[in-house]
């Protein structure tokens, strides 16, 4: 075993970071442009129903305070420069700094996504290998059909049914929230029990993809020469499957993991909503309904950065897992 190629990894990361800069610029610019094109009045959004009774003077003052009269390019530039300085602005709808909104929610979203992703990868690999072992067998068909069905099922629907079954009918898991009570304490046990259902549902929504691709990858690998060679050497079926077919079969899956990050974020958005998980999702929906520019821009940037980071991570993993790939050529 050789040591990790830190240098190459760092160089790849740096190249990707460089690529990310224009992407993020365009995305944030796009958010401000779309927002500017909106026929909706952000002043009224800020004031909420109170604006209905408010007089024109109040609205004008608000308009000035919010700075919505200036061209969106100027607002974008201001936002960008202060964002670089660490100030993401004030969230109008949450009435607190954007950085704070994101800061206190990001942890929980990340926890949810990480748990779900890990579960989906593990379970998907197991199911995929089981299905690939005997293509066309009853097990394979069962797994494949289930995977296609779950893939077609909207995640919020699955989530609702899961709430119904596990929280209402069986009453074994809490139906939502992060912790049990209004106590200010967030305990490990509580978070775990509250995490199972949302993470499970999110995992189930990501599971079909992994299962199908692992099945495909391992199935293909099983028909290829390295596996024939391994079999001919008299290796046990287990070793052939896990040591050879799986290891080559997972490679194509690994490259595609990065492309799953947007799906994961989408799924998390919906799952968080159903389970009132205090993550980014609730903030996103609220920011969207209230046309909260600074928050929207920050969230868009965050999501984009997450996607790019996911791609980078997948490439790094792939480069490490496949000795034929050179990181510095990616």
């Amino acid at each position: 075993m050789t040591a990790l190629p830190w240098g190459e990894m760092a160089r790849l990361t740096a190249r990707r970071a460089l690529f990310a800069v224009p992407v993020l610029l365009v995305v944030t610019f796009g958010v401000f442009a779309v927002a500017a094109a909106s026929p909706f009045d952000p002043v009224k959004a800020y004031a909420g129903t109170a604006a209905l009774g408010a007089d024109q003077e109040t609205l004008d003052r608000l308009r000035e305070n919010l700075g919505v009269d200036r061209p969106f390019t100027a607002r974008w530039w201001d936002w960008l420069t202060s964002a670089l300085g660490g100030d993401l602005g004030q969230s109008a709808v949450m009435r607190q700094p954007v950085a704070e909104v994101i800061g206190e929610r990001l942890v929980w979203s990340a926890l949810l996504c990480a748990a779900a992703f890990a579960a989906a990868v593990l379970l998907g690999t197991v199911l995929g290998v089981l299905a690939a072992r005997r293509p066309g067998s009853l097990l394979d068909r069962a797994v494949t059909s289930l995977a296609y069905t779950l893939e077609a099922a909207p995640v919020f629907w699955t989530a609702l049914l899961a709430v119904w079954l596990f929280a209402l009918q069986l009453d074994v898991l809490p139906a939502g929230g992060l912790t049990d009570t209004g106590s200010d304490q967030v305990t490990f046990g509580q978070v775990t029990s509250h995490l199972i259902l949302p993470a499970g549902v999110l995992a189930v929504s990501q599971l079909p993809w992994f299962t199908l691709y692992v099945r495909q990858g391992v199935g293909d690998a099983l028909a290829e020469d390295p596996v024939r060679g391994a079999r001919a050497r008299g290796l046990s079926e287990r070793t052939v499957l896990l040591g050879h077919a799986l290891r080559s079969g997972l490679l194509p899956v690994l490259t595609l993991i990065g492309s799953r990050v947007p799906e994961l974020i989408t799924g998390a958005l919906l799952v968080e909503t159903v389970f009132s998980w205090p993550g980014i999702a609730a903030a996103t929906v609220e920011a969207a309904t209230s046309v909260d520019f600074p928050l929207l821009a920050a969230l868009a940037t965050l999501a984009t950065a997450a996607v790019l980071a996911g791609n980078l991570l997948a490439d790094l993993l792939y480069g490490l897992a496949d000795p034929r790939v050179k990181l510095n050529e990616m």
Binding site: V23, G136, Y148, W164, Q216, P262, A303, T304, V307
Partner: protein
Amino acid sequence: MRCDPMADPTAVTKTVWRTHGHARRSTHTLRLRVSAALVAVTVLAVLLVPPLVRLDQQAVDLAAKLLPPSWSHPFGTDDVGRDLLLRCVYGLRVSLLVGVVAAFTATVIGTAVGATAGALGGWVDRAVMRLVDTFSSVPHLLLGIFVVAMFRPGVWPVVISVGVTHWLSTARIVRAEVLSLRSRPYIDAAVSGGASRWRVAVRHLLPGVLPQAGLAAVLMVPHAMWHESALSFLGLGLPTHTASLGTLIQGARGSLLAGQWWPTLFPGLFLIVPTLAVAGLAGVWRERINPRRRSELTL
């Protein structure tokens, strides 16, 4: 047997053949039939039920609220006594309409962008594809949420939201197809024959690209429906008075918490079944075209 060097040459005709391992039975025909039947049923239901069944899907019958599935209401009733089967069919109709229009929009945008990039090449191609990459880095739903948020929930914002987020893959496919077509001799012939760029693009490239774009469009319909229902579920899609599969599921949340599962279950199934059917059809179609190719996953 070992000592019998000369086997009877006619033995081969009586050969007992042995099978090894599990033969993979071809399920194409079955899959094709089931998928086609489901698509047909869906389309028929959506097209025929509203004009034929002269029932008012909005008809409130408070006396019949939240009835579980029965013969008179196969899917049960919702919390103001509307028949869920009828609601689901109408919901599917709306969702399908939004899906089809959105997929069409996305395909038109994608084909235009992809064909332009592929046909013009050079810096235009590079710039456009860079833009496509950038767009791909933003999660679709998030992008969709932006658009809807900016223009308020409604049918058109949803269509636009799906349209502007889903053209990316079509653009990539079309561009690749155009690039491969461009290298064909007959295109060269047309160009050297003095045809203008646009003429070549319209007369030669577009017809070659349309089948691919068409397949992409068909596959996009379930995805667009899914997108619509997700937005509606978040309260950012269609207004609640329009029955779509998403608004139906959203509206059923309260009943679900009260233990009535059917208002949630059936609209979801109505979303799953056409998706599976379309995926099944597309999968079979793809394998027919190119059976040796690594069969791509169709969802």
